[in-house]
Symmetry: C2
Subunit: 357 residues, 2 copies
């Protein structure tokens, strides 16, 4: 990338100390890098779209189709994030119009996978809570009849698994249809057209040609750092602080309000990571701290949503008390996971930023 | 005490390095110290018994009566533990006969207090899980009607609290009657007679007069250390290892088998502490490590039993699903506490043994 060859010794335009820990070869990234990055992501998007169209209907193409959907989301997120971080350098009307459409697309495509992953997480947790190998490990639900002889609570776990399987499989099926509908819609074709334009010509502002990308990337990092600062990290750093379950029996089974700042940090961390990719190319050395922090926040989000799914399933009318009991244990277990993820984030974020290749 | 004035420089008979960390003034404790300790505990026992008899029936003597029961248990545990640790120095038939009787007495007297404390712990946890001030903080159960407008799960928490209140209050009342019956029984009078003998003359063996207490006290410490070594301390030292809830949905709601080795260490730690009291007197400087380790194991035991009580209440026939759900969350919360207590034990046990007065 162009940025790798710029003069790393120019003190006026060099990156701040905040960013320089990740900077291996240095330089003053110009808008060329931005345009190059956006073109590359747009090309990836179009390639994934082709694969998706070729495999989407085929019976033996399920895996390829899922991979293509993943690649579509991956590039859509990066384009959207980059439009956001480097907004002042891009045609405003165009980027303001495209961003929400990309967000709509990636959230629509993400849902099917999210429901499948949530069911898998919850079934795994039920297995663990029932003492290992009582249930099959694939994402099908445990069968209640297998465990009927073992007592109410084990039946409860099996029934809870079956209930979650029904609910989340239904949600996943609906999400699959919604994704297929979306991919065939006029709205999607408009997004694809915009991305096709991006692949050949990035609509930069006139001033962008000589602009320095660093201040905008730094601003993204500042937003991340400010958001991290406002997290309750001292509490999170004390193991077993029991914070995550505080509203475990509150009337609203929807995602806990206390989780929102952590979800926000997850998004800001992603934007920071994409900004680094713009500046230093996709082969930027892996920052272990960013990686583990991001993984902790993904786990936080997944556990938070799984806990909400268990609480929500417990509101199903006419379920057996044993089923409800198992869902209560499962909910608390996943909130425990939420707390564990916060602890891991706190630990990894406090570490010195180190780069390994 | 005699031990405080013995020659601390005698290398042949001096305490081992294991015990010497707690040894401030040094010396070779002889059976005098043992007899003195047992006489003092027996005197305390008889004093507590008098108070118990004077206040047991009076309406305004409830607190004094509870204090007296506590003092009775306290001295019974110490006598019983000392008979065990220093068994070779005491008349075998007599001490073998007395020990199970003391164990019967202290467990019978402990039960009422244990049920009250368990209810208090569970109601506090329900308050916390419902998001603070929804429920009264005293040990009475939350009223379902107060929370009816707030949604099913909060009603579930209130109903769970009411159910636990009914169950544990009934158990406490029964334990109270059983304790009163025990204190009026011929079996108890026989124990009291034996302790009265002990207060005036401790039945030592002929060899005891010149025996060194240290090897027996060290053996008690070795048993503790061996039992600690067999605990899964590496796992316990990793926060959020999720071990404690592994059988959270297993068919048997009785205390988890994985808790037993920890309960055993709790008892051995107590025996070690009593042995130190024999050697160095009750004004032995507080060993912070022993203190915090012991507190962690008490918390472990309390949380383990509270979790079992929640699981057991969930098996009540015909409870509402919302009640069962709340009990499931509560069970998992208390198992989380079990895990937290193991972590605290691991942390405090690893610390260097330090003495502060």
């Amino acid at each position: 990338m162009a940025t790798q060859h710029l003069d790393p010794t120019d003190p006026a335009a060099g990156p701040s100390p905040e960013l320089s820990t990740s900077l291996e070869q240095g330089g003053t990234p110009l808008a060329d890098a931005l345009a190059g990055y956006l073109r590359a992501r747009a090309t990836e998007f179009l390639r994934a779209l082709r694969t998706q169209r070729e495999t989407g209907g085929a019976a033996h193409g399920v895996e390829e189709s899922a991979d293509a959907a993943l690649a579509l989301r991956r590039s859509a997120r990066r384009i959207s994030g980059t439009l956001h971080t480097f907004r002042p350098l891009l045609d405003a009307d165009w980027s303001e119009a495209l961003r929400p459409e990309l967000a709509w697309l990636s959230s629509t495509l993400a849902r099917e996978h999210a429901y499948a992953a949530r069911l898998e997480r919850l079934v795994k947790a039920l297995n663990r809570l029932s003492g290992a190998s009582a249930f099959p490990t694939q994402s099908t639900a445990p069968r209640a009849s297998d465990n009927a002889a073992k007592g109410n609570l084990t039946v409860g776990a099996a029934k809870a698994g079956a209930l979650l399987d029904r609910r989340l499989t239904l949600a996943r099926t609906r999400a699959h249809s919604a994704a297929l509908d979306a991919l065939g819609s006029a709205r999607f074709h408009a997004v694809a057209d915009s991305v096709a334009v991006l692949a050949s010509e990035v609509p930069l502002t006139p001033a962008a040609a000589t602009a320095d990308l660093c201040p905008l990337a730094e601003a993204a990092y500042e937003r991340l750092r400010d958001a991290v600062t406002s997290l309750p990290l001292i509490t999170a750093g004390h193991p077993y602080n029991a914070e995550a379950l505080i509203h475990g029996l509150s009337p609203d089974p929807a995602p806990h309000p206390q989780d929102a700042p952590w979800h926000q940090v997850r998004l800001l961390l992603r934007l920071h990571r994409y900004a680094l990719e713009v500046l230093y190319g996709e082969d930027v050395p892996v920052d272990v701290r960013l990686l583990t922090s991001g993984q902790a926040l993904n786990r936080h989000r997944d556990a938070s949503e799984a806990a909400a799914a268990a609480a929500s399933a417990a509101r199903t009318p006419r379920i057996a008390p044993a089923t409800a009991y198992a869902l209560g244990v499962l909910h608390a277990d996943q909130r425990h996971e939420v707390e564990a993820a916060r602890f891991v984030f706190q630990q990894s974020w406090q570490k010195e930023a180190v780069s390994t290749s």
